[in-house]
Assembly symmetry: C2
Homo-oligomer: 172 residues x 2
Amino acid sequence: MSVNYNSMKKNKIINPFKPAKHKHQDCLQAAIKAAKQHCDVLGLRLTPLRQRVLELVWQSHEPVKAYGILDELKQGHSSSAPPTVYRALDFLQEQGLVHKIESLNAYVGCGDPKEHHSSQFFICHDCGSVAELDDADISGLIQKKASHFGFKIDNEMVEIKGHCQECRDSRK
Amino acid sequence: MSVNYNSMKKNKIINPFKPAKHKHQDCLQAAIKAAKQHCDVLGLRLTPLRQRVLELVWQSHEPVKAYGILDELKQGHSSSAPPTVYRALDFLQEQGLVHKIESLNAYVGCGDPKEHHSSQFFICHDCGSVAELDDADISGLIQKKASHFGFKIDNEMVEIKGHCQECRDSRK
DNA sequence: AACAATAATGTTACATTATAACATTACATA
DNA sequence: TATGTAATGTTATAATGTAACATTATTGTT
Ligand SMILES: [Zn+2]
Ligand SMILES: [Zn+2]
Ligand SMILES: [Zn+2]
Ligand SMILES: [Zn+2]
């Protein structure tokens, strides 16, 4: 009798590479809705400012830069300054609503804020878009390797650069 | 008849977590020697400036910051400026003699510049020191997952934060 | 040796990313 | 309403990194 532990693992695609043409309005709306619910449940305040920053992060599936957000924020909210953006981003990151891509100093929206998860990012050099996995195999393997030398993991960061399927296809 | 492919994989510890007391002078000398040889073989110039920067990176097993290097460089070389450091670091990174830890904006020496390799960094929050693996299992798994959605990898970045064995022991 | 081409470094200025510190305003709740 | 806390405004500055051009050192050629 055997148990297939593998089937019990949580391997999620948090954000796939989106097709070039998709109704991105839906992505954005879903993200805002999820954020509202997340904050509701926890009694946290998704203020207009925070929501606006989240919307700006979700403008696309490409990572956006803090000062880019700031520029756009200023259009309708002249009193914005760097702390305005960084505070909102801090809040959103703490709540798992956005992630920072460390190797780009840029931020992407998370499709699954409901629970903390491991993140593995795949970033296309051509179109700039990012896919996010929550892959228990990768996470577990890293965990296992770490445990071999007695290392206790707090935080795992995996950022992979390369070329997505669609961009490779369109180069043929 | 079976073949143990696993045994054929290249799983290296490029840099282990060092014991608190070890003869670090040896680490440094070995690194400089390896760098000299690497450059000799390829006809590249490990100039005094580049060697000095490499030595400063190898001061310890903790990542060092560019402006920290700059401060020390100025002590014996008053004409140093940011480009001085960043150019030397660029050269050393291209040659695989140092790596940048993206999540810290800091640099560590590499124990194995002889060949390009995958790198997985484990960074201790307590002592600040860094271990580097070149683990084909992790690399291979990420590769495999990427291929599932047609992603072709150029560059892999794995930075794991947590607590090393020694620091955990000394907290008991 | 003289020369030209290239590589490395010097120098100044600036761009980008992020935080500190303190004032003000909005919100919750007693 | 009073009071404390959370959020935002505001100013200044820190930390990280690069552009552009001048100068010097090195290499290879005549
Ligand atoms: Zn979309
Ligand atoms: Zn792409
Ligand atoms: Zn050492
Ligand atoms: Zn430690």
